[in-house]
Each structure stands twice: as structure tokens, then as C-alpha cells.
């Protein structure tokens, strides 16, 4: 195994971090989330949850299907305060097309882009 295998890219949590958490007595996914910070970044566990659950299973000798996922927290994707507040994005307002865009593009902008903000 590589010396530094990153399982959670948002928070730089490595396989060794998970092994350390399990060795310290934190075996529930909720506990490992809090102890290592995995799953608390922009992806909120969408990329790393499975990898971490398998790492916990391997480190603790438990069956993977005995590991409960942690509570999913809203919002589904990172969302700007101005959208949540119902304020029209200031700098993007002029650049927006006059016709309403499909809902999916707003979600995409909220997740990936700076198109709504500065």
C-alpha cells in the first residue's frame, strides 16, 4: 500500500488516519467522521463514504454491511448564501440570459462554478 493513500480528497484524510481512528476506539462511521473530519468538505461524503466504510471494515475486522452510513445533511450540493437568501446574484445578474434556465444548471453552478459569484 502506498505510504499516503488519500480516501477523502476534500479533507485530506488518509487510509492511515482511518486505521488510527479505529485503533483509538472509534468504529462507527459517525464517530470516524468526527474524529478524522472525513466527509465534512464540499462533497459531504459523496465521494469518500464507501472507501472509508471499507477501510473501517478492514481495520476493525467487521463486515462492511454492518457499517451504517452517517446522517446525510442538507443541502444536497454546496449552495451560495445569496441563492438561499433569495437575493439575485449581483455580478452574475447582467450576464444571465433573459430566459429562465433549467433547474439543473443552477445546481451545477452552485456546485462547480463561480459563475454566480465573484
Amino acid at each position: 500500500m502506498p505510504r499516503k493513500l488519500i480516501l477523502c480528497r476534500c479533507e485530506d484524510v488518509t487510509a492511515a488516519d482511518i486505521q488510527h481512528a479505529v485503533a483509538s476506539g472509534f468504529e462507527a462511521l459517525e464517530e470516524v467522521k468526527r474524529y478524522t473530519g472525513f466527509g465534512t468538505g464540499p462533497c459531504q461524503g459523496k465521494e469518500c463514504l464507501r472507501a472509508v466504510a471499507l477501510a473501517i471494515a478492514a481495520a476493525s475486522g467487521r463486515s462492511p454491511d454492518s457499517i451504517q452510513p452517517f446522517t446525510t445533511r442538507p443541502p444536497v450540493v454546496p449552495t451560495t448564501l445569496e441563492i438561499l437568501a433569495g437575493r439575485r446574484p449581483s455580478s452574475a445578474a447582467a450576464a444571465e440570459p433573459a430566459e429562465p434556465k433549467p433547474a439543473t444548471s443552477e445546481i451545477d453552478a452552485g456546485r462547480h462554478g463561480r459563475s454566480h459569484g465573484r
Binding site: 459517525e30 442538507p74 448564501l81 463561480r114 454566480h116 459569484g117
Partner: protein, 388 residues
């Protein structure tokens, strides 16, 4: 709170201590709060206790060998109305008498501390540079690890389902994982404490209230103090991880009345193994209110993204002060609850004096002032600095 008391008891030589956690460590309010530590209160008891608590917290990392991400950036309370200003002036005078260096400042001075602030509509601000924020979770691991090293046994996923008295006047505590005999019990279950108390036939006047909170994506460090608007209950700070973390007061339904509660659990040994009826769901209405509040007071935050919201229970009492001490009529059953959303910041100092009291060494005045009997006796002093 329970972990902190267990640690302090063990430090004083009382090592036959068991902590029962219904879920996992940090699943309750101590793992759900905003990590604020402040000395700006309206009663001398709270001011002096929090002075000492912050002193304990400032040595916690070295003593417990764990990083608690403590940052002493102060608290900046923004004031919009003359009525609030009048109350805050009284609070500041009291805080200054206790040697807390809080000062009343003009809106423009507030902007000198936080240049991103929109100060239109503000009449003044209350600023104490010695208040602080921390990352709550490591405090719990620090207490848990140190307590365990001293001989304390911590059982996670072990809810209390019943408490009985055995012939020798010891308590027998029932859990799904077996029973434990104890000479004394401390009910430090926070918002869940009324349920635990009912298992010994004790009615407590505190009730749970959901408070929601959110975290943004991490930003470069820019915000020094915790910022709070007193009239709306808005508060947010920047953690050392870079995220903005905060909440706002939301209208909540009235607590269920005492009579309803009583009829549901009339019998003295009513089991409490049903999941607690404490609402911890997240609402879009909170995100909207919080986003509106944050962008109003700091318009430049509009493009900052929220990554997560959650909720925790405030443990509310009729006068805004905690409930501590031995329960009247139930010798050996001690209370340490009703901390109104401030149990996390108060735990370091409250637990220290609680342990000194239980080991018969010293009884701090709060153990008398915050006794349960004060409600029946009418001897109450209201705390008005309940935020969030």
C-alpha cells in the same frame, strides 16, 4: 458535560465512575454546538464561571495533549435598538466590575474590527476581545481519553432504560446491555435529562428546543470575532478550519405542557427506551433565514457556499439558568442539566466544581443558586444573554 464530570471526579481520586452514553460520543449537544466561549452575560454567576472556564480551556490543549483549535478573537454583539442598548449597558457595567474588558463601541468602530460589516441600522456594539471559539469535538475526545486513562469506564450506545432502588439504597440502572449498580447517579443528559429523571419519578421543568446551525465552505482567515446580532439571535464565527459556523433564532412551537408529559409517563418506573422525542431535523426555512441574516449584516458573503446544516437541542429552563445539585426527595440522584445551549462552554468549570462538591471538598455557590427547589421557592434570577 458527563465526560467532563467523570474526568474531574477521577482526577480527585474517585475512579469507580461509569459514563453511560445513549448513542456515540459527541452525539448530543456538546457535539452539535457552535463552539463559542464567551464572558458577556447578564448575571455575575455566569460571567465569573465563564472567566474561569475560558482559563481552563486555554490550557486544555497542552494538558490533554489534543488540538482544540482554540482562537481568541473576541465576541462582537451588534445592537439595533435602544431597548437592547439599555440592557447591554447594564451588562457591560457588571462585566467590567468582574474584570471582563467588554466595551461599548460605535458602529464605525465595529467596522474597524470587522471591515466587511454593514453597519447601517446599528446603534452600537458590545465587544470583548478575550472571548473565544473552539472546535467542540476534540474537547470530548480529550476528556474521554484522559478519563479512561484514570480508570473511568465509558459505555457508548448504552441508553438508560430504567432506574430502580435496590434494598441497600443503591441504584440499579437498566440498559439494553445489562445493569449497573451505583451509589450515586449524575443526570447530565442535557435535553434528554427530563426523560432520565422520570425513571426515578422526578419531574424536571426543563424542555428541549431545536436550534439549527450551518457550516460554509472553508475560507481564508478574515473574521476575527464571533459576530452576533442581539435582536435576531444571529451569530456566526470563523473556525480555525476556515469555515463560517453559525445559527439564528427560529420561531418554535411551545414546549409540550407539563400535564401532557405527566399523563404519558405516569408510573414511577416508566421505561424510557423509546427514542427520545427530540426533533433534530433540518429545515430549508432555517437556511433561508440564516442566509438572509448573514448577507444582510455582511453582504460580501453572498457568494459563499453552505456545505452542511444540522440541529442540536437547547436544554431550556424557565429562568434561563441551569439545574444542578442533589434532587429533592431522591437522595443520591444528582442533576447537572438545563444549560440553555451553553453547556458545552460551561462544562469545563461546572464539572470541576461539581467534582469538588461530590468529593466533599468545596461547594461553589452555583450549586445552591441553581438548585431545583428555586422554582418552587420563587428565588430566581433571569439570565437574558441566551443567543441563537
Amino acid at each position: 458535560m458527563g465526560l467532563a464530570i467523570a474526568y474531574n471526579l477521577a482526577q480527585l481520586g474517585l475512579t469507580r465512575v461509569v459514563v453511560l452514553e445513549a448513542s456515540y460520543i459527541a452525539s448530543g449537544a456538546s457535539g452539535r454546538n457552535g463552539g463559542g466561549l464567551r464572558q458577556q452575560w447578564s448575571t455575575e454567576m455566569n460571567i465569573r464561571l465563564m472567566q474561569e472556564s475560558i482559563e481552563i480551556c486555554s490550557h486544555f490543549a497542552q494538558r490533554m495533549r489534543i488540538n482544540v483549535w482554540m482562537r481568541r478573537g473576541g465576541y462582537l454583539f451588534l445592537i439595533r435598538t435602544a431597548a437592547t442598548l439599555a440592557q447591554i449597558e447594564l451588562n457591560i457595567a457588571l462585566q467590567n466590575r468582574c474584570d471582563v474588558p467588554t466595551r461599548l463601541i460605535e458602529p464605525d468602530d465595529a467596522r474597524a474590527i470587522v471591515p466587511e460589516l454593514e453597519v447601517a441600522g446599528l446603534v452600537a456594539a458590545s465587544y470583548n476581545p478575550t472571548d473565544a471559539v473552539v472546535f467542540p469535538w476534540p474537547f470530548l475526545w480529550g476528556y474521554a481519553r484522559a478519563a479512561t486513562a484514570l480508570g473511568v469506564v465509558i459505555h457508548s450506545a448504552t441508553p438508560v432504560t430504567g432506574i430502580e432502588r435496590s434494598g441497600s439504597s443503591d441504584f440499579v440502572v437498566q440498559t439494553p446491555r445489562g445493569q449497573i449498580t451505583a451509589g450515586r447517579i449524575i443526570n447530565a443528559a442535557g435535553a434528554w435529562s427530563p426523560q432520565v429523571a422520570r425513571t426515578v419519578g422526578l419531574h424536571l421543568p426543563n424542555w428541549p428546543a431545536r436550534h439549527e446551525i450551518l457550516s460554509t465552505e472553508p475560507l481564508k482567515p478574515f473574521l476575527k470575532p464571533m459576530v452576533s446580532v442581539l435582536e435576531s439571535g444571529l451569530y456566526f464565527s470563523q473556525s480555525l478550519r476556515g469555515e463560517l459556523v453559525g445559527g439564528i433564532t427560529m420561531p418554535e412551537p411551545e414546549p409540550e405542557t407539563e400535564t401532557e408529559t405527566e399523563t404519558k409517563t405516569k408510573t414511577k418506573t416508566a421505561p424510557s427506551h423509546h427514542p427520545p422525542q427530540i426533533e433534530l431535523g433540518s429545515r430549508l426555512a432555517f437556511l433561508r433565514a440564516m442566509a438572509a441574516g448573514m448577507t444582510e449584516i455582511m453582504p460580501r458573503l453572498g457568494h459563499v457556499k453552505v456545505v452542511r446544516q444540522w440541529a442540536g437541542p437547547y436544554d431550556m429552563t424557565p429562568d434561563g439558568n441551569p439545574i444542578v445539585g442533589e434532587a429533592p426527595g431522591v437522595p443520591g440522584f444528582f442533576l447537572c442539566c438545563g444549560f440553555m445551549g451553553h453547556g458545552f462552554m460551561m462544562a469545563p468549570v461546572v464539572a470541576r466544581y461539581y467534582a469538588l462538591h461530590l468529593t466533599g471538598q468545596q461547594t461553589h455557590p452555583f450549586l445552591h443558586q441553581w438548585r431545583l427547589a428555586r422554582f418552587a421557592e420563587g428565588d430566581v434570577e433571569r439570565e437574558n444573554m441566551i443567543i441563537g
